[in-house]
């Protein structure tokens, strides 16, 4: 299949993170054009391209940008642009490649977005575990400043933009945009009530746009080639290419850039090399650990776009973190492992999520260890239902959906375990 590698095109080039190499590969070549465009025109092109946020929710990026109030309405307040590089969703490891191998592409995208949104100051919020990447980002920023690509009067265009790297302390919840803002402000990383939405009142109570690394890195290509060219890739409602992180029981785990709409089996069997010899597919988590799990039958039906996965499997494309599990997997142990993560990462703010995640984890430990009854499974399901959508942010649902889907789609594995007839892989 023929498609442009918009995000990963420079990854194989040696020293691709260096400014000179990046420039030789065309990075920053879109800046003169973008800086010559009216801000509203940049937003219009992004909106027309149909680009959807790559952090997980898939919200139309151009539409989000239009939510920033006009200058007179925001009473002189600045607008902040935050790049969400807190990639923490289990199974997702695409942004770290973008940041490590092509940091200048992200910076170029952020300069263009800053031009579109009248932003003078931006931050790349990067998770604490990525300290080594943060150092590389700092080097890239220094190169860009020296070359006049950041700071005052970028390339003589009159546009000013300062960009900083802010390292988080390593909390999953800080990938949630309002928690990210709390953390950036110096507060405990906890989500805030919406409304107000960040685009209206975000960091330091000023309008703030939070975009994922991958989302921002696509923007230069769209400016160069136009909205129509981007829409020509992928499907009508899910245009463009996307990075997928494939892990688990496949022969070639890794990050793959593919056009949206590619059959899921093609991604697993061709790009990721298929399963190990003699193994059979048991389950796939398509979009990061938070989304509902899929059965092999559902995998056959789905293609890699937002609509297909939702329609055919009741799951989500999410962040594109695909976890493939073959028939050697103990799904009870897998779910227990996931809930250990959510119990540890719940910020502790809302009652259902705070108390419920730990409770679900404890029940699952007993199920895994053969110390539970069928009634415990009923409780487990109830708890998940009582957490889902009862909290300030989406974390509650993220912890509940794996439980709900595992219990529904792989019910017999759990029943076997409480009846003491399990495969006993734990």
């Amino acid at each position: 299949m023929d498609f442009p590698r918009i995000l990963s095109g420079n990854w194989e080039t040696p020293d691709s993170h260096r400014l000179t190499v990046a420039r030789s590969r065309g990075v920053y070549s879109r800046l003169p054009k973008a800086l010559g465009m009216a801000p509203a025109d940049i937003t219009a092109v992004v909106k027309d391209s149909g680009l959807r946020g790559r952090g997980g929710a898939g919200f139309p990026t151009g539409m989000k940008w239009t939510f920033v109030p006009a200058l007179e309405k925001r009473k002189g307040k600045p607008v902040y642009l935050l790049c969400n590089a807190d990639e923490s969703e289990p199974g997702t490891f695409k942004d770290r490649y973008c940041l490590w191998l092509d940091p200048h592409l992200l910076i170029e995208g952020m300069i263009i977005a800053a031009r579109a949104l009248d932003v003078r100051v931006g931050y790349i919020y990067i998770r604490g575990e990525f300290r080594y990447i943060a150092r590389r980002l700092d080097e890239a920023l220094a190169e860009a400043y020296t070359a006049g690509l950041l700071g005052k009067n970028i390339l003589g265009s009159g546009t000013d933009f300062d960009l900083y790297v802010h390292v988080g302390a390593g909390a999953y919840i800080c990938g949630e945009e309002t928690a990210l803002i709390s953390s950036l402000e110096g507060e405990k990383g906890q989500p805030k009530l919406k409304p107000p939405f960040p685009a209206v009142e975000g960091a330091w109570r000023a309008p703030t746009i939070v975009n994922n690394v991958e989302t921002l890195a696509v923007v230069p290509w769209i400016i160069e080639n136009g909205a129509a060219a981007y829409k020509a890739i992928g499907t009508e409602k899910s245009p463009g290419t996307k990075l997928f992180s494939v892990s688990g029981h496949v022969r070639k785990p890794g990050v793959y850039e593919i056009p949206l709409g590619l059959p899921m089996t093609t991604l697993i069997n061709e790009y990721a090399g298929g399963l190990l010899p003699g193994r059979k597919l048991k389950a796939v988590i398509p979009g990061g650990s938070s989304v509902p799990v899929m059965t092999p039958a559902e995998v056959e039906l789905c293609s890699m776009d937002y609509e297909s996965i939702q329609t055919n499997a009741g799951s989500y494309l999410g962040s594109g973190g695909m976890i493939v599990m073959d028939d050697t997997t103990d799904l009870v142990a897998a779910l227990t492992n996931l809930l250990r993560f959510y119990a540890h990462e719940s910020c502790g703010q809302c009652t259902p999520c705070r108390e419920g995640c730990g409770w679900m984890y404890q029940i699952l430990c007993r199920v895994r260890d053969g110390d539970a009854t069928a009634a415990d499974l009923v409780t487990l399901r109830d708890l998940a239902d009582n957490i889902h959508s009862k909290t300030i942010c989406f974390f509650g649902a993220s912890a509940a959906m794996p439980v709900q889907s595992f219990l529904t789609k792989f019910r017999s594995e759990f029943l076997d375990r409480v009846q003491g007839r399990g495969a006993g892989a734990a």
Binding site: I173, A343, G348, Q349, R354
Partner: protein
Amino acid sequence: MPKVKVNDVELEVPAGTNMIEAAKLAGVEIPHYCYHPHLSVAGNCRMCMCETDTPRGPMLEIACNMQARDGLVIRTETDNVKAVRKSVMEFLLVNHPLDCPICDQSGECRLQDYYMDHGKYDSRGNEAKVGKHKRQDIGEHIMLDAERCVQCSRCVRFGDEITHTGDLALMNRGDHTEIGMFPGMRLEHDYQGNLADICPVGALTSKDFRFQRRVWYLRETASVCTGCATGCNIQVCHQEGEVFRYTPRRNDDVNQSWMCDPGRDRHVAIGSLSRVLRATVDGAPSADAIPELARRIRAAGAGRVGFVLGTQASLEANWAMLQLVRANCPDAKVFWVAGADADAIAKSDTFLMDADKNANTAGVKLLAEWAGNVGDAAALRAADLALLVVLEDDVVSRVGEVLAPALAYLGTQHNPTTAAAAIVVPVAHVVEMDATYLNRQGRVQRARRATNPLGEAVPAYQALDALGAALGRAPGTRMPVATFLAMARVIPRLAGLDYRGLGTNGKLIAPATPAAAEAK
């Protein structure tokens, strides 16, 4: 004003009203932990979830963060809402120690109340509970038990938004989240007691009240604090004649929901050793103190008797003193002593703690202006007196000298003035009588009788009525309701007021002069 609908009740509410308050106006209670009318909205307890109509159909949303807007509909009693409340109760209690039998919050605990109203499930908690730090002494007035906490963050917001001390925080994450002090910090402000009040559960309890009395034995009487000129509205909590605590009573125009710790501590004085319980004449107990005082007033001769109005005493008592003088010895001199002393200024702030530690300075000023010819502290010092009758004012301390060859004192507490006084008449404490006070804003507020006067005390206006009777003409101030009406009839700034009209929140009186009115 936007028109909203709560269940079947349609009503108009001020724009921006949140739906917990709007429902209250509609007579519907929405259960909640984290929401507090005088703190910012946190939205974390999830107990106030109600059903509302959205473009995507009926949805559950938290009422505390829903602002009233035209056409907004909420339903508070649907099956979905009831199920959510039940599940929130289940989550809140799964790691709670359930130690109600030894918890001081029992009886006024939202976990208990809401469990009975909205919970009542069969326990499914088979897991080990998360242990947290217990019995933490975090300040002079407060103990913290983190296991009982529901992480509503009211106390954290109180520290951030009311005292601006930022001393409490939520530590850790998930079900290990617990309230705590920043390392090395203690509560250092004078509003600690409010933390125990706003804590909806037994996590923050008052050291003063811990283990003293089960709250269901206590009766509450609406009153005002007489610790300073602010006049915070309070509840007097008492059982069988004994007062166990003061708690703030909401009055958005005076003290919101708060009061200071020194004010809270004042109940200790009611039955303390310093309380004046017996009438004495020349140091010996006497059943005839008032007739004896009347005899000495006559003996001194009207021109050499002085009376000191009391800025600690009620409007009624001061009125009684003025009327007594007018009826029986119009030539006697009347004084009042204004102002705060240096210690009091040190214990004051720009919030509730006024430098003037007298509850009724404004009231005495009002009466003095009306009566005319009332002297100040300098006039008192200069006056040539044989006998000085003092109403609830420690003038010896405040003026710094004994002032007259003989003193008579009507008051509640022993102090340098009682020590110097030849005749001491015990009077009722503010919780022991009905009376009114005029605070620094010019708001007349009622104190209500909660307990019976201790010892031989009677309300000061009754003692003065008896003194007037002994002198020949009683001022007719035995009954406080009638006394207030008598004042309101003749003092223009009190015109039209009566006890019932003062209500629970008091009434602002007219400014002193038209000029003052314009300045406002």
